[in-house]
Amino acid sequence: MQEFMLFIKTEGDHLENLSPEEQQAHVQKIGNYIGGLMQSGKLKSAQPLQMNGVTIQGKQGTLKDGPFNESKEVIVGYFHIVAKNLEEAVDIARANPVFDQEEATIEIRPIKQMDGIN
């Protein structure tokens, strides 16, 4: 078993343009998806991120303010999961209902494992 971070990226706030009914339907779908992951013990945690915040760039620490709604791709949340291997992590990410709404990107990154010190 290996741990993975799945970073969910969309163009702007992907839920903003949905009607309340659509939002509700989306929440329902994501609830089922997450519930399934929990049931199989694959989910460590999953959290959405707020749209404000800042980025710091370079040694000078140039600040760039949020909100990031206008940016092309913005991380809107992450899933921390456990999977057998990268293939399984990819399958899990593919099933994410975020893809039903619009163009989305999920970046799948294995978490580096520390083997302990001898």
């Binding site: 994501i30 609830g31 089922n32 997450i34 519930g35 929990m38 049931q39 989910l43 460590k44 945690s45 999953a46 959290q47 959405p48 949340g77």
Partner: protein, 423 residues
């Protein structure tokens, strides 16, 4: 309106005794074993809310659902508002802190399977060897059976303060030993199982053997011991259930005789004189089914033997037609596992029915260690009866008079005096 309040509070007690244990178990998994008291506080709070609301608005259609909802909300508030106050070790606590995972997590932890697993975890946590045995029993009754401190102290004929102390000690032991909220696996499971079963059997016997105290509450102790063991029997995490079923059989069969063991004046009636039509046939049948299930794996322990002995009594139409030969054979077997003086004494009774009083007295005299027996009332009554049958009335009377000097509970003295009258 103290009247209404107490009737609603009674209803809550009655309705939620089982739900209480389930909710506390689920929330203890959420908060971690070291926060067991927090879990209890949340559930108690929810019940208090219920009491306050229902007093004015009446009891809702789905009271259980109502309490669950309130308890869930309280739990979410605690893990979110006080998230930096405590260290939660569980993943569930984390899941309850994210709007993505909160609802699925709530749904997940309250599925029937998870609730059942958490109750099993709770049983193993409350009966952890780091906790002293009398505290284990008190903690089990409090958290899993929803008994109040006054109820527990009533059942054990001790002060509320004493029970309170035992609970405090138990929770402290869990924290100090960093007991995790888990059912052990592999070899450790076997070991822990036997100590869990021992505690449950102790709980049962507290209810079954006490010679005074309220009958009603004592029978509830027996029922609770059976219910907890049934939770274990129903759980798939325990593969080898042979001992679980054997203990269930033993307790169910013994419980079938509960009501016949005392007469209208609450005097103890010994097996020989019990009115067998008052034995509970439903419990006997259940006990026999459990006994059958207990033999499906090749493993015979002392619960199997005791349960089989009890089954012989339960299925005999009278004391005289009881299959004493088989019972004696079972005691012979039992002695090879458990050579305690109490077992030897019970074997002597079987010997007297098979081979007569004289032989039984000879064997009784060979019991070497009489330290336990010298304070054990049945030792005196048994020995007296054997001497009486052996036409030694004086010896019999002398023994019973000796027994009167023991520190006896409630109606035991009446029992002795009634035998003395017969001799």
């Amino acid at each position: 309106m103290p009247n209404t309040e107490s009737s609603i509070s009674n209803k809550i007690n009655h309705l939620f005794r089982y739900e209480y244990g389930k909710l506390v178990s689920v929330l203890t998994k959420t908060f971690g074993a070291s926060h067991m008291e927090l879990a209890e506080d949340v559930v108690q709070d929810a019940m208090l809310d219920a009491l306050n609301q229902w007093e004015y608005k009446g009891i809702p259609d789905n009271p259980v659902g109502w309490i669950y909802k309130v308890a869930k909300n309280k739990a979410i508030n605690i893990v979110n508002r006080e998230k930096y106050k405590r260290l939660y070790v569980s993943e569930t606590a984390q899941h309850l802190q994210s709007e993505w995972t909160m609802q699925p997590a709530l749904h997940h932890i309250f599925t029937d399977k998870e609730i059942a697993d958490d109750q099993l975890r709770m049983i193993f946590t409350c009966c952890h060897p780091a906790i002293s045995q009398d505290s284990q029993v008190a903690l089990t009754l409090k958290t899993l059976c929803g008994f109040s401190i006054p109820e527990i102290s009533n059942a054990f004929l001790t002060s509320e303060e004493n029970i309170h102390k035992r609970l405090v000690r138990a929770r402290k032991s869990i924290k100090v030993a960093k007991v995790s909220f888990e059912v052990p696996s592999g070899k450790a499971l076997e070991q822990r199982m036997s100590s869990v079963l021992e505690t449950i059997y102790l709980l049962f016997n507290e209810g079954y053997n006490a010679s005074s105290g309220e009958d009603l509450i004592r029978f509830e102790l027996c029922e609770e011991a059976i219910r907890l063991t049934e939770i274990m029997a129903q759980n798939d995490n325990i593969v080898n259930k042979s001992n679980v079923y054997a203990l269930l059989a033993l307790m169910t069969l013994n419980a079938s005789r509960f009501k016949a063991r005392t007469d209208a004046h609450n005097n103890i009636v010994s097996l020989k004189y019990q009115e067998r039509q008052h034995w509970d046939r439903v419990l006997i049948n259940r006990g026999l089914t459990y006994l059958e299930l207990s033999t499906q794996q090749n493993n015979i322990g002392h619960y199997h033997i005791l349960a089989t002995i009890s089954a012989h009594h339960c299925t005999a139409t009278s004391f005289e037609t009881t299959d004493w030969k088989s019972i004696l054979a079972l005691y012979d077997h039992l002695i090879s596992i458990d050579n305690s003086s109490i077992v030897q004494l019970n074997r002597v009774i079987a010997i007297s029915e098979v081979h007569g009083a004289k032989m039984a007295l000879n064997v009784l005299d060979t019991i070497e260690d009489t330290t336990v027996l010298s304070g054990y009332l049945p030792y005196y009554t048994t020995k007296a009866e054997l001497h009486f049958k052996n036409n030694e009335k004086n010896v019999a009377r002398k023994l019973l008079n000796q027994a009167l000097n023991l520190p006896l509970k409630g109606n035991s003295k009446l029992l002795i005096n009634s035998i003395l009258k017969k001799y």
